[in-house]
Symmetry: C2
Subunit: 458 residues, 2 copies
C-alpha cells in the first residue's frame, strides 16, 4: 500500500523566517559596481528600490523575519503541497522516490507571488504607491499585479512586445488584477523611444523592458514610484527560500531523512534558489547532495557563458553585477520557456556554481516537452515550459537511479503550471518545435561586449 | 490578530465515503422514463454506462465507500483548502464570516475531476477502454481527459462548436492529456450529420453534443466504449459530495459550529450539490440553513422553468427525467458562464427545491463579473464565470448581514478558476458585456415542447 501522496503543512507550521545564504557562502562575493567601477553604496539604489529592500539586498544576517502582514498574504495559498510522484515513478519503473514541490497552486500559477507580496509590502511600508516592472512571458508581471491589488497599490508592467502580442491572456490577468500592462519597447520612456527609432519592428526583450521599467520608476516626479524585479537579486531569492524551508519540514514530517538530488529550472534563478538554497546550506555543512540548476541548452548561461561583470539590462541602467552572463545584448533563440531566456543569472547562484555547490545542466526543449507531457499524463498537472526543464532533469536522475538500482530521493521544484502556455504544447504535438543550440560564434559575438568591463574574482 | 486563513486537511482526514442524499430526501423521486413512458430498468442504461455506475445511480444507500484507487487519484489535489475570505470581508465591511471551498486547485482547475476520476475508475473496472463525452466551455471535457490519462484509457470529447472555435485553450489541455477533442455537431454521428444538414452554420449546443457522445458510445462495435456525463445524474452528484463532507470537517476543525448560508452556482448542479447536500442533510435533520443555488438570470432553470419530464439532449437519446427544465431545444443567450447554460438541472436538486430544502436565486452577469473582479482583487484568485455567480450571491448575503448587523457564517463553493476564461473579463472591462433576461414569450416557446410528455408529481 502507498504511503502519503501529498504532504501538507498547516499555516502554523509555515516558516516564520527567510534564509539568507549570503551569511554562509564560502569565499567573498564580488560587489555590484557603479558607473565609475567602484562598489555601489545603498544610497545609489535608493531611487530604484525602497531602503528596507536595499537593506535586505546587502544583508549578511542568516535568518530574516517574515512580517506578519506578508505571512497573511502568503497564507492565501501557502504552505504549498509537497507531492510524491508515485505515478511518474511507476511509469519510469524507477526505484527512486520523486517529490515535487507544487508552487503552481498560487493565484498567479507560479512561485513568483512569494516575492511579489513581500516586495509590494516593503514598498508600501516605505510609503511607495506605485510599482513598475517588466515581464517576459508574463509570469512575473501577473504575480506583481496580484500582489499590488491585494495591497491597493498601482502597478505598471512593461511586457516584451512579442509576448504582449502573442500571449494576450497574461495581459488580461494583469488587467483583472487592476494593473496597467503595455508593450515594450514603448514610447513612454527614453529607452523605449531610442530602441524604436533604431529598430521600429523589434520584438523587444527582457533587457529592454527592464530599462524602461527602471526609467519609469526613477523619473516619476512624485517620488512615490519604485521598481520591482522578479528574479536575480539577493532579496528576491531570499523571499523564495520559503519554498525550500517548507520542503525540508515536509520531508521531515514523513521521515524522509536523506535527499540525494535537488532540482530546479533556472532563468534568473529565483525558483531554483528558493528550493535549493536551504539544501545548499546542508551541503555547506557537509551533506552529500547533488544540487542541479537546469537551463535551456539554447540559453546556456551557467553551462557555457563566462563569469563576468555585466549589466542586467540593455540600456545599462543597472549596476554591473558579477554573474554568468551571455552579454546584455543577448538575443535568445525562439524557445517557449520565456522565463528562462534572460542573459544573466543571480550573482548568488553564479558564486555557488563557481564554488561547486551547484551543478548546472543544460537540456534541449524537445526533451523538456517530452518530459512535460509524461508528467501531465501521469501526475495530472500541465507544467509551464520553464518547469519542464526541472522535470526533464528529474527523469534523467530517476532513470540513472534505475540503471544503478539505487533508491535515490529526488526533489524538484514544480515552479508553475502551463495553462497560459498551451500554444507551445500544441506546436509540440504538431511537430513544429525543434532544438536550438547556441553556436560557438554567436556566444563569442554576444559576450564580446563584456571585454571592457572589470573582471570579477572567482 | 487573525485566526487561521486557510484550513487544510491531511490526506488521512479525507472522507472515505460519499454521501447519497437519495436515502434522505422526503417524498418520492419521479423515476426516469423510457420511450414507452414506463420507468426504465438498469439494463436499459447498460449500453451507455457500466453496471457499477448504474448501481450507484439508483442506489438508496446513504454512504458509499470510495475505492482506494479513486482515493489515490483524489490525493493528487485533495483535500482542497477551505479559505476564510478575510480580505473580501474587510472590503465589504461585513460582520459575516465568509469561507470559500477552493476547488480550483485541481489539475483541470475545477471541481469536475472529483467525478471524472471516479467515473473513469468504475468504467475501467468494468472492462471499458474508451469514454466519450460532451463539453461546453471545456471544463468537463478537460477533467475527463485528465482522468482517463491517469488510467491509460482513451477519451473522445465532443465540444460545442462555438466554444471549440473561440476557446482553443481547453482543447489544447485535452490534447495534452491525450484526449481526442472534436467540434460538435460533427460528421461522425447520425445526430451530428442530421443537425448539420438542417443547420450547416449552427454554433452547436450542449444538448446536441450529448446526443453525439451517447451515439458514439452505444454504436461502438467493440462494446468497450461507454459514455460519461459531467453533471445532472445522481452518481455524478454523489462523487461531488466529497466537497461538502470535507468542508464540514474543516469547519469543525476551527470550531465553527453553525453555518447560516451555503451557496453554489448551479448549471447541471454538480458543484452546488457537492457542497450543499451534506448540509441539506443537516437541514433535513432540523438545522436552520439557507441553502442557495445560484443560476444566471438568462438561463433561469430553477427560478422560472417548469418542473417537468424532459430529455437531457436534443436528439432525445436520454431517458425522460423529472426536473426543472427550459426545454431540450432551449438556446441560451450568449452569456459567458458556459457551464451554466444547460436547459435542465439535476433531478435530485429539482426535487429538493420542490421540497423547500434549497432556495434558487437568479443573478445577472454584470453583477457576477463585478463580484468576480472584487474577489480577484481581494482574495487573489480569478474566478471562472460560473463561480462568479456564487460569489455574487455570497456578497449579497454578506451585505445583508451588514445591514442586519449579524455575524452570519457564509460558505460558498469556489468551483473553478477563470484562467481559461479571461476573454470574458476583457470584454467586461471593455464595456462589451450586458445583461440578458429571458423574455416570457421565449420561455413559453421553449417549454412548449414539454406538453406532450408525462407529468411528474411534485
Amino acid at each position: 500500500m502507498r504511503k502519503q501522496t501529498k504532504i501538507t503543512l498547516d499555516e502554523k507550521e509555515m516558516p516564520r523566517q527567510w534564509y539568507n545564504i549570503a551569511a554562509d557562502l564560502p569565499g567573498t562575493m564580488n560587489p555590484p559596481l557603479g558607473p565609475d567601477g567602484n562598489p555601489i553604496g545603498p544610497e545609489m539604489l535608493a531611487p530604484v528600490f525602497p531602503m528596507n529592500l536595499i537593506e535586505q539586498e546587502v544583508s549578511q544576517e542568516r535568518w530574516i523575519d517574515i512580517p506578519e502582514k506578508v505571512l497573511e498574504m502568503l497564507y492565501l495559498w501557502r504552505p504549498t503541497p509537497l507531492v510524491r510522484a508515485y505515478n511518474l515513478e511507476k511509469a519510469l519503473g524507477t526505484p527512486a522516490r520523486i517529490y515535487y514541490k507544487n508552487e503552481s497552486v498560487s493565484p498567479a500559477g507560479s512561485h513568483k507571488p512569494n516575492t511579489a507580496v513581500a516586495q509590494a509590502y516593503y514598498n508600501k511600508e516605505f510609503g511607495i504607491k506605485k510599482l513598475t516592472t517588466e515581464t517576459g512571458a508574463g509570469q512575473w508581471g501577473s504575480a506583481l499585479a496580484f500582489a499590488t491589488s491585494l495591497l491597493g497599490m498601482e502597478c505598471k508592467v512593461f511586457m516584451v512586445r512579442v509576448s504582449f502580442d502573442q500571449k494576450p491572456f497574461r495581459k488580461m490577468m494583469m488587467r483583472t488584477w487592476g494593473a496597467n500592462c503595455i508593450a515594450s519597447p514603448s514610447m513612454e520612456t527614453q529607452a523605449g523611444r531610442d530602441i524604436l527609432e533604431k529598430y521600429p519592428d523589434t520584438p523587444g526583450s527582457l533587457g529592454i523592458a527592464i530599462s524602461e521599467a527602471i526609467e519609469a520608476a526613477v523619473t516619476d516626479k512624485t517620488g512615490q514610484t519604485r521598481y520591482s524585479l522578479g528574479s536575480v537579486l539577493n532579496h528576491v531569492i531570499l523571499h523564495q527560500t520559503i519554498i525550500g524551508l517548507e520542503t525540508k519540514k515536509q520531508l521531515a514530517k514523513i521521515d524522509e531523512k536523506k535527499v540525494d538530488v535537488v532540482i530546479g529550472c533556472a532563468g534568473g534563478g529565483s525558483n531554483f534558489a528558493g528550493l535549493a538554497f536551504p539544501f545548499v546550506l546542508d551541503k555547506i555543512n557537509g551533506a552529500e547532495i547533488d544540487v542541479v540548476a537546469v537551463e535551456p541548452a539554447s540559453c546556456p548561461t551557467l553551462t557555457r557563458a563566462p563569469f563576468a561583470y555585466d549589466h542586467g539590462d540593455v540600456a545599462k541602467m543597472t549596476p554591473l553585477m558579477a554573474m554568468h552572463t551571455l552579454g546584455h545584448n543577448f538575443i535568445p533563440p525562439p524557445i517557449h520557456a520565456g522565463g528562462l531566456r534572460y542573459h544573466g543569472i543571480s550573482p548568488l547562484i553564479s558564486h555557488a556554481v563557481n564554488h561547486d555547490l551547484i551543478r548546472p545542466e543544460a537540456i534541449h526543449q524537445m526533451e523538456c516537452y517530452d518530459a512535460a507531457v509524461k508528467f501531465a499524463r501521469t501526475e495530472g498537472i500541465i507544467p509551464a515550459p520553464e518547469t519542464s526543464h526541472a522535470i526533464a532533469s528529474a527523469i534523467r536522475e530517476a532513470n540513472k537511479a534505475k540503471e544503478e538500482g539505487k533508491e535515490k530521493v529526488i526533489v524538484f521544484n514544480f515552479s508553475g503550471h502551463g495553462l497560459m502556455d498551451l500554444v507551445g504544447y500544441d506546436k509540440f504535438f504538431n511537430g513544429e518545435l525543434s532544438d536550438h543550440s547556441l553556436p560557438e560564434e554567436d556566444l563569442a559575438k554576444f559576450t564580446e561586449i563584456l571585454k571592457g568591463y572589470p573582471v570579477p574574482t572567482r
